[in-house]
């Protein structure tokens, strides 16, 4: 408890503790629960006010589930999320509604996330209507302001989502997320669906908005270069666990976990003459239905020992602000 308080004085906006989210798998004639997808399996981290925490990992490792559970769009299996000193999962319906003004989400597919039957101005205005912000005329005015902020024009107000390009749609998604002036936004792969030429525009927009409104981001992505560009700190997920968490510079210059190392070596370098040794991982990502025992990475790990299949590594701080979950990387064998 005292530690929690101290952390909050550190300026931590979101504190996730032992978060677990399993999805039931139903089967058979009676639709009984036959198994569980262990999408997120006990993760803890915190996000400081005003920072961008990158969350990377392969498809299906639980990144999006993490983001959505933090926002309580999914009910957690266990664990807590403390947002601004309030336990998100213990709030009453009305309290939760109030809290939603402060935490928003930007989706990967901006087209699917906009109601095709509604002009985009109305979609952006929805949050203002729900929370009864100002008078109806003021709301329209606010929406126009926001449209300008994200680089759109007045006349776009009455247009429908399918009349926009991918980049513009993502701007609309961003406009909707910032309309309520939130403190915290989960960016769920916001640029993954966009053309490379558009990605940087949207990333820059996100950064400008962060500066202007003092936003805190949880930035989910699988593109390491994108994450490097925008994040202050980066967490790496593998099969429902966070396996490494460090400041961006630390992580990119000195990855400790073998999985992170493999990921880093897979970043393409725009220089054909430059060759480096690539760590190619063997095998496929195991199914989250039946994750491997011990360290979940051990079947694919180049440095795995027998102990790795038995003992689950703890998530420890091996250097200042650099956390790793690997038996092969203890504090004892870190060379600085």
């Amino acid at each position: 408890m005292t530690q929690d308080k101290a952390e909050n004085q550190n300026g931590e906006l979101v504190v996730v503790k032992d978060l677990v989210k399993y999805f039931p798998v139903r089967g058979g004639v009676l639709r009984k629960i036959v198994n569980w997808v262990q999408a997120v399996d006990g993760i803890s981290f915190s996000i400081r006010k005003g920072e961008t925490l990158g969350l990377v990992g392969e498809s299906g490792c639980g990144k999006s589930t993490t983001g959505r559970t933090i926002l309580h769009l999914l009910d957690p299996t266990s664990g807590t999320v403390v947002f601004n000193d309030q336990n998100v999962f213990e709030l009453q319906r009305q309290e939760m509604k109030v809290l939603r003004r402060d935490m928003q989400i930007i989706f990967q597919d901006p087209y699917a996330s906009l109601n095709p039957r509604r002009p985009i101005g109305e979609s952006i205005k929805a949050g203002l209507n729900i929370h009864q912000v100002g008078t109806p005329t003021e709301r329209t005015e606010m929406v126009l302001d926001i449209l300008h902020k994200v680089g759109l024009e007045d006349y776009h107000y009455h247009r429908y989502p399918h009349e926009f390009s991918g980049g513009q749609r993502q701007r609309i998604g961003i406009a909707r997320a910032i309309a309520l002036k939130p403190k915290f936004i989960v960016c769920d792969e916001p640029v993954s669906a966009l053309d490379v030429s558009i990605q940087s525009q949207v990333l820059n927009l996100l950064q400008d908005l962060q500066d202007e409104f003092g936003l805190t981001y949880l930035f989910i992505a699988h593109n390491l270069s994108v994450v490097e560009h925008i994040s202050d700190r980066v967490a790496v997920m593998y099969l429902g666990k966070i396996i490494e968490l460090a400041s961006r510079d630390d992580l990119y210059s000195n990855p400790l976990h073998p999985y992170t190392k493999a990921l880093m070596s897979a970043i393409p370098i725009p220089k054909p003459s430059l060759r480096r040794t690539r760590t190619i991982l063997k095998g496929e990502v195991p199914s989250p239905l039946d994750p491997p025992s011990g360290c979940r990475f051990h079947p694919r790990c180049p440095i795995a020992t027998e102990q790795c299949s038995v003992e689950e590594p703890e998530f420890v701080e091996v250097m200042k602000d650099h956390y790793v979950a690997c038996l092969g990387v203890g504090p004892q064998n870190v060379r600085i």
Partner: protein, 307 residues
């Protein structure tokens, strides 16, 4: 201050408002416009039936079974009553029954289907059982039973065999179709990401159901409803035939058609004209439904703006 005026000008003068766009699209649909005109004429003439010199219920035995002529445009029936006038008065009953039944079945079916499809889980289990149970009732027997019961009860608004009573009986039995359709729509749309977005904004379940999901299901609901009007008109005639619907001498298209069966070979106009009316009403309503569905489709509105 000038800012405010700007806001109005800039956004409101924008291409066109939603409703005028929809109307413009609707007008371009030839079938729908034809349907709308025919239905309008039908409704108008039905309302003006009182202007006719003939009475729909008083018999005139001397003039029975007159073929269509200048005096009696659609001929006369077995009791010498003018068929045209009876059709117009019968139209009041049949069209009201059609619209009322669909209104009632939507009023029951949409909320139940929405709740079942949106919440899923045990809510869906319970509601689906209710839907299935209602659907499995032997409709005809149940209709007869219900109208017999309603006849016994002396409720002030439910006079025996009145239009309202018949509509209620038919509506109570036809809502499961609407409920199933709406449930399926909600199953499709509730997983959409814009629904998640609305949740993230703090929207209540009711708001999501009404303003995020239902508008997307409008097309199929409209089409289903227009079909439902046709069914209701036919069902009413079945009930009338069995003596549990609108009772003679009050005319309805259904009971006129059924009466005409006895003399089909000798006096075909008795069957042709009511049948033609039913056909015209149903087909025009279906075309209107078609046009409305297309007009409300946002993907098609785009083409209009670009023109």
């Amino acid at each position: 201050m000038p800012r405010k005026a700007d806001v109005k000008n800039k956004t409101m003068k924008s291409p066109e408002t939603m409703s005028s766009l929809v109307w413009r699209r609707f007008r371009r649909h030839p079938g729908a416009m034809a349907g709308a005109i025919i239905l309008a004429i039908l409704i108008l003439s039905v309302l003006l039936a009182g202007l006719s010199p003939f009475d729909p219920e008083i018999s005139d035995i001397k003039n029975r079974f007159q073929p269509p002529s200048g005096n009696h445009l659609f001929g006369t029936d077995g009791l010498g009553r003018d068929v045209l006038v009876r059709i117009l008065y019968g139209g009041r009953v049949s069209l009201s029954v059609g619209f009322l039944v669909v209104g009632i079945s939507l009023a029951i079916g949409v909320p139940i289907g929405s709740a079942a499809g949106y919440f899923g889980g045990w809510v869906d289990n319970v509601l689906s059982k209710v839907i299935d149970a209602t659907m499995s009732l032997p409709a005809l027997m149940f209709m007869i039973l219900l109208s017999a019961i309603l006849r016994e009860i002396d409720a002030p608004f439910l006079k025996s065999n009145s239009t309202l009573t018949i509509s209620l009986v038919l509506g109570v039995l036809s809502w499961p179709t609407a409920a199933r359709l709406v449930r399926a729509i909600f199953f499709t749309f509730r997983e959409m990401e814009y629904v998640t977005a609305a949740k993230a904004l703090g929207a209540s379940n009711l708001r999501i159901i009404i303003s995020e999901i239902l508008p997307n299901g409008l097309g199929p609901i409209i089409v289903e409803s227009t079909l439902g009007i046709g069914y209701a008109i036919m069902e009413e005639s079945t009930l009338s035939f069995l003596g549990f619907g609108i009772m003679p001498p009050t005319p309805s298209w259904g009971n006129m058609l059924d009466k005409a069966q006895e003399h089909l070979s000798q006096y075909p106009w008795l069957a042709i004209f009511p049948g033609l009316m039913i056909f015209l009403a149903i087909i025009s309503i279906n075309f209107i439904g078609d046009g409305m569905r297309d007009a409300l489709d946002p993907y098609k509105i785009l083409a209009q703006i670009d023109e």
